[in-house]
């Protein structure tokens, strides 16, 4: 689906849809009614509370209250060694933990000044698992949002494909969600045997799934009626709120960290950044569908180019020595001990490092005081600003529109609330 340049009207004409007659409000006395959605609501796939004020079916104001999944990530990090923070980052955007792992590792590596020394194979693997995670992230968002609009089949299809990918990631790191796969200086371990062939096979099958999903949704009158022209975010708002990622791109902002500030080996791959034209729910859907396609392109190229070699920096001050060394030499034993108990000694300084996560620019602002743990570890969660704009977008919509709009924002509690 190419959405570039289409206006809403042309799109609807092309599809042959007709608007329902707007009869206008009946002439009855009404008064505003407060309505709570969430924090626990079947159609809210995140713990968030929305205090709506409705006039009939129409929303007149919306107060978005986040924080129900606050886990003190940033404060906890100040009491964990640099390496112990990886499990915490898994729980940020828990649909794509690999991307969080990579984002955090890159920030610390930049502070250590070793970003150029990371073995090339590790950089490729980080791209590969990251893009697989991105596909998982988008599949979840699309499937769940479609289900909330009644398209349960789409949900099952999308999650079937996601499950293939999760199983593959499980082979890589031992867990579907709690990956903790990255380390400062590289990766915990290499890819498993036969990963290459398995991923290609899964990608081929996922392409069929994506095609099925497209057929089920894109000419579906119910789906289009509830997506087209609903929840429009203007480009100016996106800029003002600092919205990035698929939501930002749906407004026509062609900002993608992988393209604009390439990290790892992204500058070696040929891929496009899809943008929307209207900034409505359907654009966000379409951008995500296209991003899955682009991620697959990156994966194909990465699998073709990946070199052999180590996946972890060989430096006893940064990476754990191999176990055979640890058990048999005092040097490696001490290095192991110091890394586990004291943590890596990151030189004093501060860094803001950002990557393209599933929902947009995931930033880590880290301050080190030279000890084995961060003095400050701040996260810029991409879906935070996208969730913030809901308070502006929702007024004027129907109550039923909250569900697809919120779904397409893809607020992930773990990431937004930290």
């Amino acid at each position: 689906v190419s959405t570039a340049g289409d206006s809403l009207e042309t799109r609807r004409v092309v599809l042959g849809f007709q608007d329902a007659e707007d009869l206008g409000p009946p002439d009855l006395p009404t008064e505003p009614v407060p309505l709570n959605m969430g924090p626990s609501h079947p159609a809210m796939h995140g713990t968030v509370r929305m205090v709506l004020e409705v006039e009939g079916e129409r929303i007149s104001s919306a107060d978005i209250q986040i924080g129900y999944l606050h886990r003190c990530f940033e404060k906890e990090s100040e009491n964990a060694t640099w390496t112990q923070i990886f499990p915490y980052t898994d729980r940020l955007n828990y649909i794509s933990p690999m991307l969080n792992n990579v984002g955090y590792a890159l920030a610390v590596e930049q502070l250590l000044g070793i970003e150029k020394k990371i073995p090339e194979r590790a950089q490729f693997i980080r791209v590969i698992v990251g893009e697989v995670s991105r596909i998982c992230d988008h599949l979840t968002c699309l499937g769940a949002s479609a289900m909330e609009l009644g398209a349960f089949t789409v949900f099952l299809y999308a999650l079937k494909a996601r499950e293939w990918l999760f199983e593959l990631l499980e082979e890589v790191c031992g867990a579907r969600l709690t990956s903790t796969y990255c380390r400062i200086g590289g990766l915990a371990y290499d890819l498993p045997e036969g990963f290459d062939a398995k991923l290609r096979d899964i990608l081929a099958r996922t392409r069929i799934v994506m095609s099925d999903i497209g057929k089920l949704l894109e000419r579906n009158r119910i789906f289009r009626d509830r997506m087209d022209g609903i929840g429009i975010i203007t480009q100016a708002d996106a800029l003002a709120y600092g919205i990035t990622g698929p939501v930002g791109r749906s407004t026509g902002l062609a900002y993608d960290v992988r393209k604009d500030h390439p990290y790892l080996v992204y500058d070696r791959f040929d891929f496009d950044v899809p943008v929307g034209s209207v900034g409505d729910n359907f654009d966000r859907y379409a951008v995500r569908v296209e991003e899955i396609v682009q991620s697959m392109r990156i994966l194909d190229q990465a699998l073709a180019q990946i070199p052999a070699g180590p996946v972890l920096l060989q430096d006893p001050r940064i990476a754990l020595p191999p176990k055979s060394e640890t058990y048999n030499s005092i040097e490696a034993m001490i290095a192991h001990f110091k890394l586990i108990m004291d943590g890596i000694h990151v030189p004093p300084g501060e860094v803001y490092s950002f990557t393209e996560a599933g929902n947009g620019e995931l930033g880590f602002y880290i301050v080190s005081d030279g000890t084995g743990r961060p003095w400050k570890c701040r996260v810029r969660p991409p879906c935070f600003s996208a969730t913030a704009v809901l308070g502006k977008v929702l007024p004027g919509l129907f109550i039923a529109d909250v569900v697809p709009t919120f779904g397409m924002i893809n607020m992930i509690g773990g990431e937004c609330d930290r």
Binding site: E331, A332, I334, A335
Partner: protein
């Protein structure tokens, strides 16, 4: 450990090292020009200005034999790197601590030291606060190039009543030998054999049993000497540390209370050039044990555990009855074990509010002493108690006589330790059973508490904030490190509650308020400093943060 980090040489310390009016010399260290008093050791000079130089055998409180060769630096004009711990600074000296050659020889020395070092970190008590680990990580960080068989030595040698020696871990720095020679002034340890078979040992038939033997464990840079008391009890890096003062005698050695999860695991000396330098005695190290056993954890009324309200009511009623009818028959017992704050609060209550005339002083008996650190007075705060009592305190012998004569029928005891001592006939003869009201505020379930009509649980020195006045008249701060046992409270707080029951207005809400008031009223506390509030620091991160 506090004494193994880099030394910052303050002018006061330089004075103590023997140059009252120092002549200054100019030394260039790593391109930066600095001024030092003449005679300063180069190693101390480098570390004082941040040009860190590693070392094993050097110790700020001991002589330097320059045996470990870990502190080698390049000095311009010298053909070979020189041991900085053995070289005094000289005028116009140019030193390079980070020259490629200096870094390389130090790295090679570390590699050499590690050749025969056992792979013991996981089972070694010193791991986490080990200088060898620290220096390897900071200065070497290369993988082993040698996979030969390590030289085997004796692993568990019982060298003394408090200490176990592991000869394989020893890096032959001789710090422990010098502690015995220079601090304890007894030669109990020695090197034997040569080359890679050289070992630390005691002479046949001799033991490492001097009263300062545990200082060897503190100065040991590795896990060769370990304390039996702390061995395998706790991982060092899990401990939190809090500065405090040893309550073992009137010397008031500065210590760190190292604790975890509400339990104290060890006491180690804290550097104070004016009191204890780097050391403390073995006896002082075990003073924490008493605070963890046989504690009185709840108020008792007529021997039954009750809540605080009930106990204070009962105490107030019993005392009020005697105070109303026979006010001159009420006595109070001060204790030289208490902090200045507890003593001051008691003095306020007894003398200013209740106008009690009969006051006595209790405390532990005199004991053994030496000319090094140990004082004969086994109470940490005799000086403070005497100053606060201001001549009004009489001995326990007088109390015994007053009790026998019926001149005292109600007694408030704040701090029951040493009131009934086994070694002193007059004390065991205290006829406490004759009292109509005995209010005992004590830490332990002892005989005074057993005889008391109302017993109130008192926080120990590891659990309460306060100050002790040592034999030199120095007011030193004691800090609460662990939560108080059971329901026990600091003495000043208990007295504050009791005062309310007796109709006196004496309200204190924190120890600092008592201290501040006492400082205004008592001349000996004029110079005292409460210090800043402090959170316990975990040793794991203490090397680089704190």
């Amino acid at each position: 450990m506090s004494d193994s980090g880099p030394t910052k040489l303050s002018p006061a310390q330089a004075d103590l090292r023997g140059s009252p009016a120092p002549e200054m010399v100019t030394v260039v260290i790593d391109g930066q020009s600095h001024q030092f008093p003449k005679g300063t050791v180069l190693l101390e000079a480098c570390n004082a200005v941040g040009a860190e130089v590693p070392f094993f055998c050097y110790h700020a409180g001991l002589s330097s034999p320059a045996v470990c060769r870990q502190c080698l630096v390049d000095v311009k004009g010298q053909p070979k790197p020189v041991p900085s711990c053995y070289t005094p600074v000289a005028d116009k000296m140019e030193v390079a601590t980070k020259s490629p050659r200096a870094l390389d020889v130090r790295r090679q020395m570390l590699e050499f030291t590690l050749v025969n070092h056992p792979i013991d970190c996981p089972i070694c008590d010193k791991a986490g606060e080990c200088l060898l680990q620290k220096h390897y990580f900071d200065w070497d960080a290369k993988f082993a190039r040698n996979d030969g068989i390590k030289v085997k030595k004796q692993k568990v040698v019982d060298v003394g009543p408090h200490i176990v020696l592991d000869q394989e871990r020893c890096i032959l720095c001789t710090r422990c030998i010098r502690v015995c020679d220079e601090v304890a002034q007894t030669h109990q340890l020695e090197m034997a054999q040569r080359g890679d078979r050289e070992v630390l040992t005691t002479a046949p038939g001799h033991k490492l049993d001097n009263p300062y033997s545990l200082n060897t464990v503190d100065v040991c840079p590795v896990g060769a000497l370990t304390a039996k008391d702390f061995r395998f009890a706790m991982r060092a890096w899990e401990l939190y540390t809090m500065p405090s003062v040893c309550p073992g005698c009137a010397t008031g050695c500065n210590i760190e209370v190292q604790h975890s999860r509400g339990q104290v695991y060890r006491l180690v000396p804290r550097v104070n050039p004016a009191v204890n330098k780097h050391w403390m005695c073995d006896e002082g190290r075990f003073t924490y044990k008493r605070a963890q056993t046989e504690r009185l954890v709840a108020p008792l009324s007529a021997g039954m555990p009750v809540d605080w309200d009930r106990a204070l009511d009962d105490a107030g009623r019993a005392l009020s009855a005697v105070l109303a009818s026979r006010p001159n028959q009420v006595g109070v017992v001060f204790n030289a074990q208490s902090t200045n704050e507890d003593l001051y609060a008691l003095a306020r209550l007894a003398f200013d509010h209740l106008h009690i005339g009969k006051a006595y002083i209790a405390g532990l008996d005199q004991g053994w002493h030496d000319d090094i650190l140990v004082s004969a007075d086994k109470n940490p705060n005799t000086a403070g108690a005497m100053a606060i009592g201001a001549g009004r305190l009489r001995s326990l012998l007088d109390l015994a006589n007053d009790l026998k004569a019926g001149a005292v029928t109600a007694l408030i005891v704040v701090g029951t330790r040493g009131v009934l001592g086994a070694g002193d006939a007059t004390r065991t003869a205290l006829p406490l059973e004759r009292l109509q009201a005995l209010i005992a505020i004590g830490t332990h379930r002892d005989a005074v508490v057993a005889a008391a009509h109302v017993a109130l649980p008192l926080a120990e020195w590891t659990e309460a904030d306060g100050t002790f006045t040592n034999r030199l008249g120095m007011v030193q701060r004691v800090r609460a490190a662990v939560p108080a046992a059971g329901d026990s409270l600091p003495g000043w707080e208990i007295l504050s509650h009791l005062a309310r029951k007796l109709g006196a207005t004496m309200e204190y809400f924190e120890a600092k308020a008592v201290f501040t008031e006492a400082r205004q009223k008592l001349p000996f506390m004029k110079e005292a400093d409460w210090g800043r509030p402090m959170l316990p620091v975990q040793l794991r991160f203490a090397n680089s943060r704190g």
